[in-house]
């Protein structure tokens, strides 16, 4: 790891905000562990991490949105407790959140939106006068070097283009003259030219001594903009490096390090019969079509960051979405499920990405959660058969070692890992032909992960196909027989696990594994970051 012997940038080597041992836990689930970081004046710190790495949690604590953190946050050396976003702003920390639309009040004018924070200020005069608001708004825009006409300032903010709205929100964040500015994926909705305009603004702000935290998945932007890269993984700071950035190292840190692999993954199985094929499937409107074969008897691991297309593949096969172009086939026959029920009837099951939102039925018992997709099998003429339900539930509890007091315990009372086992077991218990698991190990402890992995191997050994879609290299190496790397809707690598090593997989992320014969990239050689790499056309909002 290239380490922080911090090169001072233009003489501002002063920490404006420091985190000392900051941790955040939701219940028993620790999502941020002992984070210590310094944010220096005149420096842009890029915050990197895969889905669920803890970036959002860190930003929430830092911007006052989550006051229940432990450890210390220091501003100019003094320990403060950030209890609310307003308080954080008063102390000099402003945040611009990813969804610009959330920061704009439609129906109010541009000027009113720019001076929106005044509404919450008790000290301000309760009667706002329009001319004063215009003057204030113009002053706010001046910090970005912008000069918008009165016509624009008086129009409904809802009518601004997204990039202008982004600038509006940024100008508003700068009105309180912060010392630290947090930007969460600010370019996710911008075109390249618009992003470039934003970067010029950020560089100017940096030159004025502002400290900026920049969250992004676009390595190209970070290469162009950042002075420092901090990588989070599983709530822990993996690395904290300054220029020049070692992108191989950074990706290693982001996606998981080889040392975590303490467990023998056994032989790599090679499936023979094809279960499903994607033929000329286009995952995104602008992406080129791809082909992919899914075979029985092996666990296929599809690796990709947010917006790489993994969820899209799962949704196509699971009957949630229709392909933009191309066709699907299942066991040789054309396969076009119109809804999840069709897929389930065809033996294709999908364990969705978001357990809380798409998986469990809160307040329901373990048994009721398990039998939901297969109520027909647990009933006779519509009449539910308690005994059949019970049998299936006990099978799932047994085969995945679910820790629960019994089938009637409410699912909410189980730990996250055990809830996940219930959800996975629910789908696998029916003996599917093809099981798709989208990020099945998120928020799941190692023991549960191993149990689910073993169950998948057993499923494959019984002649079914299993597909695990994940953004974590470790997880994929642990469970998969065959590894596919997706980047921006393209298959960058498709090899059996015993034919590739971690470096090759990581290389594929950086676009170095285009030809199937290419040797793994030599370690240490700086890789050219790709601006378009792991970014979706419609970047999905991330939640931790």
């Amino acid at each position: 790891m290239t380490l922080a012997t911090a090169a001072p940038i233009e003489g501002h080597d002063v920490s404006v905000v420091s985190l000392v041992g900051v941790s955040v836990a939701y219940g028993s689930n620790v999502v941020l562990t002992d984070v210590s970081l310094d944010f220096r004046a005149g420096e842009i710190t890029a915050l990197l991490g895969a889905n669920g790495a803890g970036k959002s949690t860190l930003i929430k604590a830092l911007s006052g949105a989550n006051p229940r953190y432990s450890g210390e946050i220091r501003i100019d050396g003094a320990v403060v407790h950030l209890g609310s976003p307003v308080q954080a702003r008063q102390l000099g920390i402003s945040a611009v959140h990813q969804k610009v639309a959330d920061g704009i009040v439609p129906g109010l004018s541009v000027a009113e939106n720019l001076t929106l924070d005044d509404l919450a200020h008790a000290s301000r005069h309760p009667l706002r006068n329009k001319r004063a608001a215009l003057a204030d708004a113009r002053a706010a825009l001046a910090t970005l070097g912008l000069d918008w006409s009165d016509g624009i300032l008086n129009q409904d903010a809802d009518r601004l283009a997204i990039s202008d709205a982004q600038l509006l929100v940024l100008a508003r964040a700068l009105r309180s003259t912060p010392q630290l500015l947090i930007l969460d994926e600010p370019t996710s909705a911008l075109t390249a030219a618009e992003a470039e305009r934003l970067f010029d603004v950020l560089r100017a702000l940096r030159a004025n001594g502002l400290s900026i935290v920049y969250v992004s998945h676009r390595f190209g932007e970070i290469e162009a903009l950042a002075d420092r890269v901090v990588v989070l993984r599983d709530g822990i700071v993996q690395s904290n490096t300054v220029r020049p950035f070692e992108w191989h190292e950074i990706l290693h840190d982001m996606l998981g390090r080889a040392t975590d692999l303490d467990h023998d993954r056994g032989t790599t199985h090679r499936g023979t019969t094809t279960v499903a094929t994607l033929d000329g499937i286009q995952l995104f409107p602008e992406s080129a079509p791809i082909d992919l074969t899914i075979k029985a008897g092996e666990v296929l691991g599809v690796l990709g960051l947010i917006g790489a297309g993994k969820t899209e593949i799962a949704e196509l096969l699971g009957g949630l979405a229709a392909p933009l172009a191309g066709t699907l086939a299942l066991e040789g026959a054309a396969y076009a499920p119109r809804r999840p029920g069709d897929a389930i009837a065809a033996g294709v099951v999908l364990v969705p990405e978001d357990r809380q939102r798409q998986g469990i039925l809160p307040g329901w018992s373990v048994q009721q959660n398990i039998t939901l997709p297969f109520l027909k099998k647990s009933s006779v003429g519509g009449l539910l058969r308690g005994r059949a339900e019970r049998r299936r539930t006990e099978e799932v509890i047994e085969s995945l070692s679910v820790v629960t007091s019994g089938p009637d315990e409410a699912i909410d009372d189980l730990s996250g890992g055990n809830q996940q086992k219930v959800v996975v077991g629910r789908w696998i218990s029916a003996g599917p032909r093809l099981a798709l698991l989208d990020e099945p190990f998120r928020g799941v402890d190692i023991a549960a992960r191993r149990e689910i992995g073993a169950r998948l191997s057993a499923l494959a050994a019984d002649g079914a196909a299993a597909v695990v879609l994940s953004s974590d290299v470790d997880e994929i190496f642990e469970v998969a027989d065959r590894i596919v790397v997706l980047v921006a809707g393209q298959v960058e690598l498709d090899r059996y696990a015993d034919e590739v090593d971690r470096a090759a997989v990581i290389g594929a992320f950086l676009g170095q594994e285009r030809s199937p014969t290419a040797a793994p990239a030599p370690a240490g050689e700086p890789a050219p970051p790709r601006d378009d790499a792991p970014v979706s056309p419609e970047s999905t909002p991330e939640s931790n």
Binding site: P340, W364, S405
Partner: protein, 354 residues
């Protein structure tokens, strides 16, 4: 993080005495209040004790209870139906119109009314499922439309047997005896409305708790996305729930029409609040925390007991509304404030996702 080796049952989390007491109150509070009220009136009011009174009470509350069961059905899919009162009122006028103006027999009137109820439910379902209008607003709109349509059809007038029509002639038909039997008839000692009330409660209980369709309805209401991914046709179930609700509201209307014996244009106006209240009380009964048939029936009985008791005590009619309000308030406190678990009533907040 759990240990990977233990598969032994985990002990349930121990609860403090306070928690246990509150759990007990949540579970039995409503039953206890109903029992206490009954006991109070039994002791203080000799008339309350008679069998006639008990059936009278149940008969009185039957339309409200049935409409309440309809609202309960809409609640199972996470919705609500504010048009039940209007649907019942519509049913009263349409039944009268069919028999008195169109000179048809009671059976025809019943069929026409039930079809209208299903159509109103289908309209609600269309607005909510296809047009994606939030349930609260969609059913509110339906309420207006239905009330207006009813007044247009009957010319803004109550329809009674032998009424004089606008062309000076006398209306050809009348409320037939077989129709009036719906209110005045009885099987053994049990009045027909009470039997209908009981049968509907049992059918709904069976459907919701014992069949996979009921399970699917609740799944749609609990987590529609998870239900959809489980292969449940979410929109069909929502449609079915609203149509069922429309049907039940029109049955409530039939009982009202038979009770009044004429097509009173104001009938059904007061039904909506009572029906919604009964369904909400039903959620909190026994600490079940979700819509259910027996709870709704019990909620209706509680209100019947209260109203009857208040009347016997000589309290003015407007005291009843106050009493109902207090009962509903307590029910909601049980459901939302004191309950350990999140109550699954999302009325008004659900829109057609997906």
């Amino acid at each position: 993080m759990t240990s990977p080796t233990t598969t032994a049952p985990r002990p349930l989390p121990t609860r403090s005495t306070g928690e246990r007491v509150s759990a007990f109150v949540v579970k039995w509070g409503f039953v206890a209040v109903t029992a206490a009220l009954i006991l109070f009136f039994l002791i203080t009011e000799p008339n309350f004790r008679t069998v006639d009174n008990i059936f009278g009470m149940l008969k009185y509350i039957a339309p409200t209870a049935i409409a309440g069961l309809g609202v309960m059905l809409a609640m199972t899919v996470g919705g609500i139906d504010l048009s039940v009162g209007a649907s019942a009122g519509f049913a009263v006028s349409i039944a009268a119109w069919t028999m008195v103006i169109a000179n048809q027999v009671g059976g025809v009137a019943v069929a026409v009314v039930l079809i209208c109820g299903l159509l109103i439910g289908a309209l609600n379902a269309f607005l909510i499922v296809v047009a994606r209008i939030p349930d609260l607003l969609a059913t509110l709109t339906t309420m207006f439309v239905i009330v207006g349509l009813k007044l247009i059809i009957v010319d803004g007038k109550s329809i009674s047997s032998q009424m004089t029509l606008s062309n000076g002639t006398t209306a050809p038909g009348k409320f037939t005896a077989d129709f009036l039997w719906l209110d005045r008839g009885s099987i053994g000692p049990v009045p027909v409305p009470v039997i209908i009330f009981l049968v509907i409660t049992i059918v709904l209980w069976f459907l919701l708790e014992r069949t996979r369709w009921g399970r699917a309805l609740f799944a749609v209401g609990t987590n529609s996305e998870a239900a959809r991914l489980s292969g449940i046709r979410v929109q069909w179930y929502r449609t079915a729930a609203y149509m069922g609700c429309g049907l039940l509201a029109s049955i409530a209307g039939l009982l009202l029409a038979a009770r009044i014996g004429q097509g009173d244009v104001s009938a059904g106006n007061s039904l909506l609040l009572d029906a919604v209240a009964v369904a909400l009380v039903g959620v909190s009964v026994l600490g079940i925390g979700r819509p259910n048939a027996w709870g709704t029936a019990l909620g209706a009985v509680l209100i019947a007991v209260m109203v009857t008791g208040f009347t016997m005590l000589g309290l003015p009619y407007y005291a009843q509304d106050f009493g109902k309000g207090i009962v509903l308030l307590i029910a909601l406190l049980f459901s939302f404030t004191f309950s350990r678990r999140r109550t699954v009533v999302t009325a008004g907040s659900t829109t057609s996702a997906s």
